[in-house]
Amino acid sequence: MNKHLLLGAEAIALGALDAGISGVYAYPGTPSTEITEYIQKNSADLEKAVRSSWSTNEKTAYEAALGMSYAGKRSLVCMKHVGLNVAADAFINSAITGINGGLVVAVADDPSMHSSQNEQDSRVYGKFAMLPVLEPSSQQDLYTATREAFDLSESVKLPVLLRLTTRLAHSRAGVERTAARMQNPLHALYAPERFVLIPQNARRQYNVLLGIQQELEKISEHSWLNRLITGSGSKGVIAFGIAFNYTMEVRQAFGLDFPVLKIGQYPLPRKQVESFFTSCETILVAEEGYPVYEELLRGYFGGDNIMGRMDGTLPRAGELNADIIASGLGIKPATVLPVPDIVVHRPPALCKGCGHRDLYDALTTVMSSFQEHHVFSDIGCYTLGALEPFNAIHTCVDMGASITMAKGAADAGLRPAVAVIGDSTFTHSGMTGLLDAINDKSPLTVIIADNDTTAMTGGQQSSATGSRLLDICRGLGVDEGHIRIIVPLKSHLEENMTVLREEIIYEGVSVVIARRECIETASRKKRTKV
C-alpha cells in the first residue's frame, strides 16, 4: 500500500517531515494536536532527529520555531486558532524580521466551536501580518502544500501560515508521499538589521514587507491552489478552502455545471477574481469561517450581485457542509427522516472515577457555606464541572484566566476568590498571574488540579507536574504554609474539605494542589506496557 490513510492534521505532519524540518513546536489544542503527535510517533527512525516535545504555550513554541529558523533549519509550529492569540506578538513581529530557514505556522480553526471558546478565523491574522496564507482543501493537498510552504517561506523569506479547519484536520483520506528532502545544515544568520527590531530597523523591515506584497499576489496568481473550474450559466461560486469540497459535492450530486473559482492561497489572486466577476452575473462567496473576503469583495457600499454569509444566503456562523451550500444555491432540500422525539442530548462528562469529580464534590460543599461562592475556572477536562450535576464553576474564558480573574475580583473586594486550574494550563499561562497576585497580596486561593497530564486533548506530556509545581509556587513566593496538597478521592472527602476551608478563609495567596493522575492516561500507560 503506497497510500497512507491520514488525518488532515497528520498529512501536514508528514509533509513537514518530508520537507526536512528539524523541529516542531506546539502546545496541544483541538483540532491541531495530531500534527505534533504524528511527528512524535514517526520521527524516531529518521536519519536525523526531529525535535518534537511539547512546549509550555504557543508563544514559547512560536519563538523557539523562529529561533530554529534563525539558525537556518526548517521548523514547523502548530496550534489551534485561539493559540495564535497567545503567539500573536511573536507571529506579527516575525513578519517584520522575516526568516532564515523555512518557517511554517499550521493553525487549525474550529468553526462551530466543537472544542473551543470562539470560531475566530486565522486568515484574518494572515492578512493582519501580511503573510502568505495557504488553505488547501484535501488531505493530499495538505501534504503537498505543506512541503511547498517551506520552499515558499525560504524564497520570500517570510513565515507562511497554513490554515485548516476541524473537518479537514480530523478527516482521513489516502495520501501519497514523495521523496523526503534532507534537513537544512546549520547556518545561523548574523542579520541584526533584520532581527533587532529597534525603530529604525523595524521601519525599514516593515517597508520590505510592504514592498513584497505585490510579489506575494503574483505568486498567488500562479499557485495551483487557486484555479478555475469552468462551467456554464451566469451564477458562479468562489469557494475558499474546504468550502471547495462542499461546492464540488453539490455540483457532482445534482449534476450541475456552474463555474467555480477555487481559492486556496492568499493574498487573493486579484486577476483571477476580476475575470471571474466579469464572467458571472451573480456570485456566491463560500468561506469556512468569517466572511473575510466576502466583506472585502462587497466593499462598503456595493455588492448587489454577491451572496454569502453577510446577506443570509449562508448562515453567518458555524461550519459549512454540502447541504448548506446546496440551499444557498437555491436547491430545495430533500425531505428526510426526523430525529425521533425520544432522542435526548448526550453531552460530554467527566469520566467515571475522575479525580476532578471528587475535587468538585469537596469544593462545592465548602463553597456552599459562603454567601458568595464564585469559582473562577479555566480550560481543560475540569471545565466540564460547569455542567450538571456539578455546576461547580462559574467562569472559563481563556487559558490562565482563572487566576487573574479571581485576583481582579478579590481586588474588587469579593470574598472568597477561588480559582481552579489544571497543571498544564497553570504552566501555560497561570504562573504569571499567580506572581501578580503575590505581588499585590491579593487574597485568593488557587486550586491546581494536577492530574499529571494534558488530559482534554488526549493525555499529552504536561510541562510541570507533581513536586515541580510545588517548587514553582514556592519560587513565585507563595507562603510555604499555604501550599497544601490533597488527594481527590472519595475516602479523603472530609480531610480535603478541611484543607480547602482553611485555605479559602485565609486572607492571602494560598495554593491547594489536588494531585491524582488522570485515570484515562493511567490506563493508557498500562495498556501500552502490556
Binding site: 495530531e34 466543537h114 482521513r172 469540497n245 428526510v336 432522542v343 448526550r346 460530554p348 482534554m456 486533548t457
Partner: protein, 196 residues
C-alpha cells in the same frame, strides 16, 4: 460504487477501530475514502460519530449530506436514532441493542427499539453477548462490523485481512478472537436478512 456510512456511538466506545478496519480494506481494494473523526471534548462520554465515504470515483466532501447515507452503523441503540435524518430512503440501520447509559434521562429501551423497528429492515445485534461467545468482551466492535459487512461494499476477505493487520501487533490470539467476533456478527446479519 459509492457508499456513505454513518458510524455512531458514545465517546470511548471505540467506533474508530471499526472505521480503521474499513478504511484500510477500502484503500487496499483501490477505492477512494474519506472518514471524519471526533476528537476533543465530546470524546469524554458524549455522542460521537464518524462519516465514512467509500467510492471508486473522487470524493469531495468529508461530510455526508442529509438523506444520503446508505448505512447507519451504531454501537449503541439510542445513538443510531440521532442520525436518522442522514439515512437515505430504503437504507438501513445496523445497531447494537445494548444501551450505554451515562445520562439520567436516557429513554426507555423499549421505546428506542420500537423507533428502530420503524425503520426499513434494521439489523439488531446483541453485540456484547456475541463478543463473549467469540471469546472476548472487548470484541463487540468487530461483531458490529461483521453484522454490517454485507452492506459495506467491500469483500469479506479484504475486511478480514484488514482486521488481521490492525491487530497484528497484539499477537495471533487477539487477531483470531477478533476474526471470530467478526464472523459471529456476519452470521447473525445473514440470518436476519433471510428471515421474512
Amino acid at each position: 460504487m459509492h457508499i456513505n456510512i454513518i458510524l455512531a456511538g458514545v465517546g470511548g466506545q471505540g467506533i474508530l477501530t471499526i472505521a480503521a478496519v474499513i478504511g484500510r480494506a477500502a484503500l487496499q481494494s483501490g477505492l477512494t475514502i474519506r472518514q471524519t473523526e471526533v476528537h476533543g471534548m465530546s470524546q469524554r462520554g458524549g455522542a460521537v460519530q464518524s462519516h465514512l465515504r467509500i467510492s471508486n470515483r473522487e470524493i469531495y466532501s468529508d461530510l455526508i449530506a442529509e438523506g444520503t447515507a446508505h448505512l447507519i452503523l451504531s454501537v449503541e441503540p439510542h445513538e443510531a436514532l440521532r442520525y436518522l435524518p442522514f439515512l437515505a430512503p430504503e437504507s438501513r440501520i445496523v445497531t447494537s441493542i445494548e444501551p450505554f447509559i451515562n445520562i439520567e434521562n436516557y429513554p426507555a429501551i423499549d421505546d428506542i427499539l420500537a423507533e428502530l423497528n420503524r425503520t426499513k429492515r434494521p439489523v439488531m445485534v446483541n453485540a456484547a453477548e456475541l463478543a463473549r461467545e467469540a471469546g472476548h468482551a472487548r470484541t463487540s466492535n468487530m461483531v458490529m462490523l461483521g453484522a454490517a459487512s454485507p452492506y459495506i461494499g467491500i469483500a469479506t476477505e479484504q475486511l478480514e485481512s484488514a482486521i488481521g493487520e490492525l491487530f497484528h501487533a497484539k499477537g495471533p490470539d487477539i487477531v483470531d478472537v477478533n476474526i471470530r467476533a467478526f464472523r459471529k456478527g456476519q452470521e447473525l446479519s445473514q440470518t436476519q436478512a433471510t428471515e421474512p
